[in-house]
Amino acid sequence: MKVHRMKTLARPLALAASLLVGAGAFAQTAPQRTGDDSLYQALGGQGGLTTLMDRFMERLLADARMRPFFKDADQQHVKEQLVLQLCEVSGGPCRRDGPDMKKAHDGMDVTRGDFNALVEVLQDTMDAHGIPFVAQNRLLAKLAPMHRQIINTP
């Protein structure tokens, strides 16, 4: 595997590549990651995460609570960012280089109920994807602390 870190200027190129290859996120590997990747494997690795996030986006757009947040977004870009993020937090060979989570959500009002609604849609997606409850909770435990950056509205 070729190892390099995505630089800001390289992003449009990487994005184009990912659109072409479909698994372009895989090209962004972090050299220092040598830890436990059992959760990443339980989520189906890169292919599993890509399919999972495709289904997740479909469900987000179909959910009345979540649709307003995603309908006008660059959904392809969001999905790629999510794949990178889930890959990274689950111990996979990726590193998300996008804006920090606080900045990424500055433009919208996210309540605790919104945050939990997204968790529920993710749980539903993982259920439909056959991901075991134990693996689901391990992933959610990695994501939940981001509530401090994401929730910005009482």
Partner: protein, 304 residues
């Protein structure tokens, strides 16, 4: 439901809501399933026998939610019915009300008290002071809440004996501190509660006694294992004071034991939860009925 307490609850809810501009009176179901706990027999959200630091209902953020519950406990020689309601103000606060009716059957007939019912009304309030039990999964910091449960007992024909020679009061206030932590990656929840109380058999036999009238600090512990999003299996242990152990009825006649239970809670959706448990209430008035009281506990909660 007794009117004065309902009124008090309604007023308290209004005051709490209007005093805090963060609450916009939006009804909501924003909590994750089961993370508002179930209704304890005292009305506060928690496990079955002990309050937790979670706030009742599925309201979160600036949402307001409500729950109502009905619980029935049937042990060998006695039965307990409880019902009540709670209002949750996001993850911040909770007000609750409950009424209990303990059916002593004819166990106290030797004392001239056949068919005795012991009743009590409970008004509760709880305030979360720190932490987030569910989402702070990268720290050991639990959700912490303080609460009060004010109880007023009506011991029926036993009342004059209870408040007379036995030296108990017919009302009392429990004050508790609860810490709840969900170990999310493991799907395992732990709650610890410290309750300062004078209550005898949770207040059904009044508060304090001739030999002991001071507050006692009692620990309570609950654990729950999430089997699925909608299903939790758990156990509880609740220590209790033993104020009436030494009384005019003789040493040990009214000895009381700690309580424990094993429970299974199921929430098919955010509007309904069913809790089934096996409870051990220990001995209750062993002078007339010496065996331990074990049996079944069934509770239903609806939420809005």
């Amino acid at each position: 439901m007794p009117c004065p307490q309902l009124r008090a609850l309604a007023w308290a809810a209004l005051v709490a809501a209007s005093a805090s501009p963060a609450f916009a009176f939006t009804p909501g179901q924003g909590k994750l399933l089961l993370t508002g706990g179930v209704s304890s027999i005292d009305g506060a959200a928690g496990g079955g026998l002990t309050p937790w630091a979670v706030t009742g209902s599925h309201a979160t953020g600036s949402e307001i939610g409500a729950t109502a519950f009905f619980t029935r406990v049937k042990v060998q020689d006695y039965a307990l019915g409880a019902y009540g309601a709670a209002v949750g103000f996001g993850d911040r606060a909770e007000l609750s009300i409950a009424r209990q009716d303990f059916d002593a059957g004819d166990n106290l007939a030797p004392l001239g008290l056949p068919g005795l019912h012991l009743k009590q009304n409970i008004v509760g309030a709880k305030l979360r002071v720190a932490g987030d039990a569910v989402l702070d999964s990268d720290t050991l910091m639990p959700q912490v809440a303080v609460g009060v449960l004010h109880k007023t007992t009506d011991a029926g024909a036993l009342g004059p004996t209870l408040t007379g020679p036995l030296g108990a009061k017919d009302s009392g206030t429990d004050i508790y501190l609860s810490a709840t932590k969900l170990f999310l990656a493991q799907g395992f929840l732990v709650n610890g509660t410290l309750r300062a109380t004078k209550a005898n058999q949770n207040g059904l036999l009044g508060f304090g006694g001739a030999a002991s009238g001071s507050y006692k600090l009692q620990p309570e512990v609950s654990v729950a294992w999430l089997l699925r999003r909608d299903l939790a299996l758990g156990a509880e242990y609740r220590a209790k004071p033993d104020n009436l152990n030494e009384s005019v009825l003789g040493s040990g006649a009214l000895k009381e034991d700690d309580w424990s239970d094993l429970f299974l809670a199921w929430a098919p959706n955010k509007h309904l939860s069913i809790t089934l448990a096996w409870v051990d209430l220990g001995r209750i008035a062993p002078a007339v009925q010496p065996r331990r009281q074990r049996g079944a506990y069934l509770s239903a909660q609806i939420g809005f």
